[in-house]
């Protein structure tokens, strides 16, 4: 469903016309367009945005942990179209148990490391990713540090013995 101040804008209107169920809700604040997308539509939507609406860049991809709220995670896609000089923010809400999304590496190869980072630091799984390993932390690390229930100080690792 589109917010009233977005109905006139070409890109959200085109997405609404492409698939009326894709956009769950939307907002336009501080000059930034945000669309909440249903999880099963994100991969076809990204492919459509790149192929037909000139969004040739994935600027970044990250997650937000809203703990203890449910749905707990929000995965954020920061898209950019250089030809149209336009930016778009897509958000997908995910539950706290086994958060998983299809990978968009097949659309933008640059999504590779961003998805690995979100997997490493938030524990969000991206199915279909070619090489989903930890990227920042060592392989033996337990837990996902950017989750809100992971302490900033005093976690179980001690560096005194090293």
């Amino acid at each position: 469903m589109l917010a009233d101040n977005l109905k006139e804008m070409p890109v959200p209107a085109a997405i609404e016309a492409w698939d009326p169920d894709a956009i769950l809700h939307s907002s336009f604040e501080h000059g930034e367009t945000t669309l909440w997308i249903s999880p099963d539509k994100i991969l076809p939507l990204c492919a459509h945005l790149k192929a037909s609406l000139q969004f040739n860049r994935l600027s970044g991809l990250t997650a937000i942990d809203l703990y203890p709220q449910e749905p707990r995670f929000e995965v954020v896609y920061l898209l950019h179209s250089i030809p149209a000089n336009q930016r778009l923010k897509l958000k997908v809400a995910l539950p706290g148990d086994n958060p998983a999304l299809p990978s968009v590496t097949s659309v933008w190869a640059g999504a590779d490391w961003y998805e690995r980072e979100a997997f490493d630091l938030f524990g969000v799984t991206f199915t279909g990713h070619p090489d989903l390993r930890r990227i920042m932390l060592p392989d033996y690390w337990e837990g996902h540090p950017l989750r809100r229930d992971f302490p900033t100080h005093g976690h179980k690792y001690s560096y005194k013995d090293e």
């Binding site: 600027s59 990250t62 250089i82 000089n85 590779d112 920042m136 932390l137 392989d139």
Partner: protein, 406 residues
């Protein structure tokens, strides 16, 4: 970051007919030409790299996690420590989305000061890049000259903020301190001599046959591939696309400045060198315009709940004292919501995706750093090419590992 067991994944396989053996070479994490702690696993067939796997995370310090434990204004100090060659661009990239959420009006003088200092840090960053890149390729003289320029710029930064590297000069609501006495003359003196020096450095390299042979036609990637991989900044402009965020999405009154976007079409190591040197000249143009047209007026926003009051006011007005107490003890609250403002740093697009839940600490600060995106082009730049060219390709990416790992 991976444990040493990763080497097992690169077990040499015999594929090409005629070749007898492949070798796995571990480059880094302590390698002089990786400019930081980057580890690359290379699989070699003779002198050809058949597989390259970068391994990052050695400098991961959890800056994004720490940001969630600090107040909004305190996060500025963390941003200095990501890309330590262009900390003022980082400060600006963090401050802009927070100001957007707060709805602050930044006075013209503060905006122009921000532009001036960001361009100085661009010259600084490109000078360090130029010196170290030339050093990697065997031209040592340029390195000493470039570091002399860097020293001059760091002295200017120290004059403004009291710090050479971790300046934290750009703050939410304006800048940290009033510009010091004599700043105009000091920058004018530096800027007046710089143009000739840039010409000199360019001559030192463009008339150096070894440098030309090692850079021309080396490290080519097509524009489509670069965009697909998420590469930004001078590498894109060296591939022929005149895309600069300062022009396409102007911030901090960049629309008032007159400058060009240097581009090349070859998309090799040499064209990236040309673009960066030309960018130093354009930055100098912006610095000169900022010196000429610097507006008068306040250097911080009129927002008593966000910006610390003047000392004088605190001695005479009770409200100022109350605001000071509130800001120092609790910080300030930022309305709930999220914002992302891209900024053109010397390396490319830097932007902070900032989310607030209405409290005095950020809910999430995601740092979209240019080095992280640019480093993804390492594998295609390396694979199928000569190992001797890899150093030139690596240097032409101009990444800072602190910016990659955060």
């Amino acid at each position: 970051m991976s444990d040493p067991g990763l080497t097992a994944q690169l077990e040499p396989v015999e594929t090409a007919p005629g070749s007898t053996r492949k070798m796995v070479l571990n480059m880094g994490p302590q390698h002089p030409s990786t400019h930081g702690v980057l580890r690359i696993l290379l699989e070699l067939d003779g002198e050809i790299i058949t597989k390259a796997q970068p391994d990052i995370g050695f400098l991961h310090t959890g800056i994004e996690k720490q940001a969630e434990a600090l107040g909004w204004q305190q996060v500025v100090t963390l941003t200095d420590r990501m890309d330590y060659l262009a900390n003022l661009s980082n400060n600006l990239a963090y401050v802009l989305p927070v100001e957007r959420l707060l709805g602050l009006e930044i006075p013209a003088k503060a905006q122009w000061l921000r532009v001036l200092l960001c361009e100085l840090s661009r010259i600084n960053s490109h000078a360090v890049w130029l010196g170290t890149h030339a050093l990697d390729l065997g031209a040592m003289t340029v390195f000493f000259y470039c570091f002399r320029e860097r020293e001059d710029i760091l002295r200017l930064f120290e004059m403004f903020s009291g710090q050479r590297l971790m300046t934290s000069y750009i703050r939410i609501g304006g800048v940290a301190l009033e510009p010091p006495r004599g700043w105009h003359a000091a920058i004018s003196k530096f800027a007046s001599g710089l143009s000739d020096k840039i010409d000199e450095y360019e001559d030192l390299l463009t008339k150096n046959p070894i440098f030309l042979q090692r850079t021309q036609g080396v490290g080519h990637l097509s524009l489509e591939r670069l965009l697909d991989l998420g590469v930004t900044g001078p590498m894109i402009r060296a591939a022929g696309l005149a895309w600069d965020i300062r022009k396409s999405e102007p911030y901090s009154s960049y629309e008032k400045f007159d400058f060009d976007i240097p581009t090349c079409t070859e998309s090799d190591v040499f064209s990236r060198f040309r673009v960066r040197v030309d960018e130093m000249r354009q930055s100098l143009r912006i610095v000169n315009q900022a010196l000429e047209g610097m507006p008068e007026g306040p250097w911080k926003a009129d927002a008593p709940k966000v910006v610390l009051p003047d000392r004088e006011k605190m001695k005479t007005q009770m409200e100022a004292l109350i605001y000071h107490f509130k800001i120092v003890t609790e910080g300030f609250r930022v309305p709930a919501g999220d914002a992302y403002v891209p900024v053109e740093s010397p390396r490319g697009e830097i932007g902070f995706f900032v989310a607030s839940d209405g409290t005095s600490k950020p809910l999430r600060v995601f740092m979209r750093t240019p080095s992280f995106g640019n480093l993804q082009s390492l594998t295609p730049l390396f694979e199928g090419r000569l190992i001797a060219d890899s150093i030139a390709s690596l240097g032409s990416m101009d990444f800072v590992l602190g910016d990659v790992d955060r």
